[in-house]
């Protein structure tokens, strides 16, 4: 059995266990419903075109706007129908629009003459979207790296707590276990996000959301994927390391505090400093925040073409360093069974290296 095969077997178990886990399945289902609700429902809930009672000749603009036009005999009848709720509004002969609490927007729009608009900076985006899109990237990265990361830590601790790990390391090297777990987490996280993205895009299509938005989002999402994968793997190695430090599930929370901060602080920074270009520029290069900050800058068109490459390069270097640190702590603590291991003790532990040296001598 070669290393690749061993990693695959380890990762396959992690994935199989997760796919049978009710909490994971319900969580995914919840996200999917949320995606459907967020994209497809609002236009559907808004209902069809408004109905309007018209006294006399109906202006062509109303029918052209696709409104439900109902001719009525006189002003009194028109007012009565509005009051009874049979129509949303009534148009009188003098041009007055009668409605109950406020005038339906589509009727008002159809009747008003609007100036011709010429935008000098057509990329300037809807302020609502400018708020929602950064939120989306930050939340997706935050939640997936937190929930999947925590699950990686729990799975490591479970093996340590039950001593299954001793059986495992007797047959496969410690790094194979670590690789398998991180890989399984990345596959599951990517799968979940892809599923949500597909459902959200399908929802937008059903709801007929404008293609301008979809095309504005494409480069941001396209870059988000590599940033997400590298950022996720970087954090996953740290989660596995803190999982190996403790012997009991109850201790994971306390031991993982540094990693939790490494996930949360960048999240809040991106959320709060979103409209500060200098801060965002810095955040888009810092490894822990670049997976959410760089796609936001790309979405706003603030980043030069070379910048995502540079930031991704920085992130890859950060991930390599973090993987090395995480792997060393994981190896240094996984087989220490007496209580909680401190990071420093795990860092200094030489057991894994000595075993590897013994293995190497034989070849």
């Amino acid at each position: 059995m070669n290393t690749y095969e061993a990693v695959r077997i380890v990762a396959a178990r992690e994935i199989r266990v997760k796919l049978r886990d009710k909490a994971f399945l319900f969580g995914t289902l919840f996200f999917l419903l949320f995606a459907v609700a967020g994209t497809a429902l609002p236009p559907l809930l808004a209902g069809g075109p408004s109905s309007v009672a018209v006294v006399g000749q109906a202006p062509a603009a109303l029918t052209a706007a696709g409104l439900d036009v109902r001719p009525v005999a006189d002003e009194a009848a028109a007012r009565a129908q509005v009051r009874a709720g049979d129509v949303d509004a009534a148009l009188l002969t003098d041009g007055t629009l009668v409605a109950m609490t406020d005038a339906p927007g589509d009727v008002e729009n159809a009747l008003s003459t609007r100036p011709t608009v010429e935008l000098l900076d057509p990329s300037a985006l809807d302020p609502v979207l400018s708020f929602l899109v950064p939120l989306f990237f930050a939340v997706v990265f935050f939640f997936t790296s937190l929930t999947f990361g925590l699950q990686i830590a729990q799975s490591v601790t479970e093996e340590k707590q039950t001593r299954v790990v001793e059986i495992l390391v007797a047959s496969v090297p410690v790094r194979v276990l670590l690789t398998g777990k991180v890989l399984a987490g990345a596959v599951l996280a990517m799968g979940q996000i892809a599923l949500i993205a597909i459902v959200a895009l399908a929802g937008m299509r059903i709801a007929g959301t404008g293609s301008e938005l979809v095309s504005a989002l494409t480069p941001a999402i396209g870059w988000f994927l590599p940033f997400f994968v590298v950022g996720f793997v970087m954090l996953a190695a740290l989660w596995a390391a803190v999982g190996a430090l403790v012997n009991r599930q109850e201790d994971i929370n306390a031991a993982s505090m540094p990693v939790q901060l490494a996930v949360m602080l960048p999240f809040f920074a991106v959320m709060m400093l979103g409209d500060n270009p200098t801060a965002m520029k810095v955040l888009s290069y810092v490894p822990f925040s670049s997976p959410s900050a760089m796609p936001v800058r790309l979405f706003h068109g603030d980043a030069a073409a070379w910048e995502p490459f540079a930031a991704l390069g920085v992130l890859v270097v950060g991930a390599v360093v973090t993987l090395a640190v995480g792997a060393r702590i994981y190896e240094g603590s996984l087989l220490r069974t007496n209580g909680r291991t401190s990071m420093a003790a795990a860092w200094r532990d030489r057991e894994a290296r000595r075993l590897a040296e013994l293995d190497a001598q034989q070849v």
């Binding site: 059995m1 380890v10 707590q161 039950t162 390391v169 007797a170 047959s171 000595r354 293995d359």
Partner: protein, 297 residues
């Protein structure tokens, strides 16, 4: 080369505590070797070094004369101390996982798993999460996990602790089946009566040093004192004045005594018969517990 698992001068310290000091012993082909010692004597550390979970500071572990490699270790069936399996996985899934990690193909794993599940009487529970099994069944599940890849060597840390007598018999049957096929079995235990009943060879460890090692019979012979027990009809108090006899215990008609090296047991028997009927007379063989107490001091 015979199939011998050998520890050769293995030492290990944790901080400034010497946990193993030049530990050497053999686990021979087709033999059940009992590994006995008090808590903290070094049993688990020795086993973890065999399994490559810990590195020795000095010495080595060999298999058939060559240093034990990772590939060899994959052929060991191991049961760690304070064991457990994945609590939420079914026994069948765990056996599949562990078998495959040990390098077996899917079909071979399935065949071995069904065989073990049936043999250990776990058929109805094999699909349930292991955490829902009774304690005894969890132990049996653990045995199945150690045997799933048809190991060439078995290393079992306290395989009998917490087992009811019926489960002990089941496990013994399974292990005997392996030794018949030539598999060397090393098992630790603090239940000396179980070890006494099961083991062919015995290794006694105390304070990180091997105090005694060898076949059960030879150990017993080595530690048998010139001690005798005598039961007569009357009072055995006359033994006190018999030359070469040192009385250990006297209870009316029953006496236990040691003989001086030059004294003759048959002469004492003749003396007893001269005084009346003798109901029992013979050498006293020490129990394993007594040998252990003697050598482990």
């Amino acid at each position: 080369m015979t199939k011998v698992l050998r520890l050769d001068g293995v030492s290990r310290r944790f901080g400034d505590r010497q946990v193993l000091d030049e530990v050497s012993f053999d686990v021979a082909e087709g033999r059940m070797t009992g590994f006995v010692g008090a808590n903290g004597a070094g049993k688990t550390t020795s086993m973890r070094i065999i399994m490559g979970v810990l590195a020795p500071d000095g010495g080595e572990v060999t298999w058939q004369g060559a240093r034990l490699t990772r590939a060899d270790r994959r052929r060991i069936g191991y049961m760690p101390e304070e064991r457990g399996l994945y609590p939420k996985m079914s026994l069948r899934d765990q056996l599949d996982y562990l078998g495959r990690l040990h390098g077996l193909g899917r079909d071979a794993v399935r065949r071995n798993a069904e065989h073990l599940i049936e043999w250990l009487g776990l058929g109805e529970r094999a699909g349930d999460p292991v955490e829902n099994l009774s304690l005894g069944n969890q132990q049996r599940a653990q045995i199945a996990a150690a045997l799933i890849h048809d190991p060439d060597i078995l290393v079992l840390d306290e395989p009998f602790s917490g087992l009811d007598p019926i489960a002990v018999d089941t496990v013994v049957d399974v292990l005997r089946d392996r030794t018949r096929r030539g598999v060397p079995v090393l098992f630790s235990s603090h239940q000396l009566d179980v070890v006494e009943r099961l083991c062919d060879d015995l290794v006694i460890i105390a304070g990180g040093r091997i105090r005694a090692a060898g076949s059960r019979a030879s150990l017993r012979a080595d530690h048998t004192l010139p001690r005798y027990a005598l039961t007569v009809d009357g009072d055995a108090g006359w033994l006190r004045d018999e030359p070469g006899v040192r009385l250990i215990d006297l209870d009316g008609a029953h006496a236990v005594f040691d003989l001086a090296p030059d004294a003759d047991d048959q002469r004492v028997l003749a003396a007893a018969l001269a005084r009346g009927p003798v109901r029992a007379f013979g050498p006293v063989t020490p129990s394993l517990a007594e040998i252990f107490r003697e050598v482990a001091q």
